[in-house]
């Protein structure tokens, strides 16, 4: 992982923790291979909150909503934090 990926992962981890609050059920830190659904158990309405926080942080450079809307439900369920980090790095 390069420095930029490291930075984005740190930011995304902070934002996820803000969305989920003290209900984060994870042993250890959020990693690139952490899955949004299976590991973090994020609800779809919490994805909306995460999208809002990403927008606040990165502005229009990162289109999280547009990126997700191109995916089927099973793809969204299978998403890993690393997929989002990769998308953000590509947008910056």
């Amino acid at each position: 992982m390069n420095d930029q990926q490291q930075d984005v992962l740190a930011t995304v981890s902070t934002l996820i923790a803000e969305v989920v609050g003290d209900e984060l059920e994870l042993d250890g830190p959020i990693r690139l291979d952490t899955r949004f659904s299976d590991d973090l158990e994020l609800e779809s309405i919490e994805f909306v909150a995460l999208a809002e926080k990403l927008q606040e942080h990165y502005g229009d450079r990162v289109d999280f909503v547009g990126w997700l809307s191109d995916k089927e439900l099973d793809q969204i369920i299978a998403l890993r934090v690393g997929d989002l980090v990769e998308h953000i790095v590509a947008c910056l």
């Binding site: 158990e41 609800e43 779809s44 809002e52 439900l73």
Partner: protein, 249 residues
């Protein structure tokens, strides 16, 4: 998280894009604004200002004990969209009934109407009727297949959804309000004046309502898609395409 006070409750709202306004309404129980936020809303937002909100008791909106009748929930929409003289409305299931009621009561304020799987009469919504009579723990089994699989492991997501269903089914007036909800009669439906698109799943238990609307409302367009009641899960791309095409006229 943007929260707006309207009609005596607090609502979680989201806005995407710019252009002519369109409000999108989700269905009861398992719905939230996320169902549109991650499907049709981003595409519509390329040409429209899209307004989304969680219905009372759902998503991140206030869990009110009462007010789940069509009149109150339509008053919620009226209050939340008071800034717009005219707008397009897109609704799924009970959200479609709210949009329909709004269009019947305020014909000059609705430019276009998209009804996805609107169930009439509201009280005889077959899937929902069977659904709400189950104990909350068994409701999981009655959910759309992708959602049930998604929640089947019994983790945090399942616990949160069950808590939400339990509240709506046993601690709010939603079920009683639904059962008491009168039908909208054909004469009233015939008064619908705005261009209207009805979208129904070929295998949905609501499809007869689509046929009724096509029969009694002049100028309504009825389209069927392969799938059931939850078309945003069964056919997200096709549903999005048809909604966007119709809203762009």
């Amino acid at each position: 998280m943007p929260v707006v006070a309207a009609n005596g409750a607090r609502f979680h709202v989201q806005r995407l894009g710019s252009g002519p306004p369109v409000a999108m309404l989700h269905g009861l129980f398992v719905g939230s604004l996320a169902q549109w936020y991650f499907t049709a809303a981003p595409e519509l937002a390329r040409t429209h200002e899209v307004f989304l909100y969680d219905l009372r008791g759902h998503g991140k909106s206030e869990r009110t004990a009462g007010g789940y009748d069509l009149a109150t929930m339509t008053a919620d929409l009226v209050a939340l969209t008071a800034d717009h003289l005219q707008l397009a409305l897109v609704g799924h299931s009970f959200g479609a009934l709210i949009a329909l009621r709004f269009a019947l009561d305020h014909p000059d304020r609705v430019s276009r109407l998209v009804l996805v799987e609107a169930p009439l009469p509201p009280s005889r919504f077959g899937e929902l009727g069977a659904f709400v009579r189950r104990p909350p723990d068994e409701m999981l089994e009655a959910l759309p297949v992708p959602l049930a699989a998604y929640l089947g492991r019994g983790g945090r997501q399942a616990r949160r959804l069950l808590a939400s269903l339990r509240f709506l089914a046993t601690e709010s007036s939603l079920v009683a309000d639904l059962e008491a909800e009168p039908d909208i009669d054909d004469a009233a439906l015939a008064g619908l004046t705005c261009p209207t698109l009805c979208l129904y799943g070929e295998s949905s238990s609501c499809r007869e309502t689509g046929e009724r609307l096509a029969r009694v409302v002049p100028g309504v367009t009825l389209q069927r898609l392969p799938g059931g009641h939850y078309l945003h899960l069964d056919q997200p791309a096709e549903l999005t395409r048809r909604i966007a095409e119709f809203c762009r006229g």
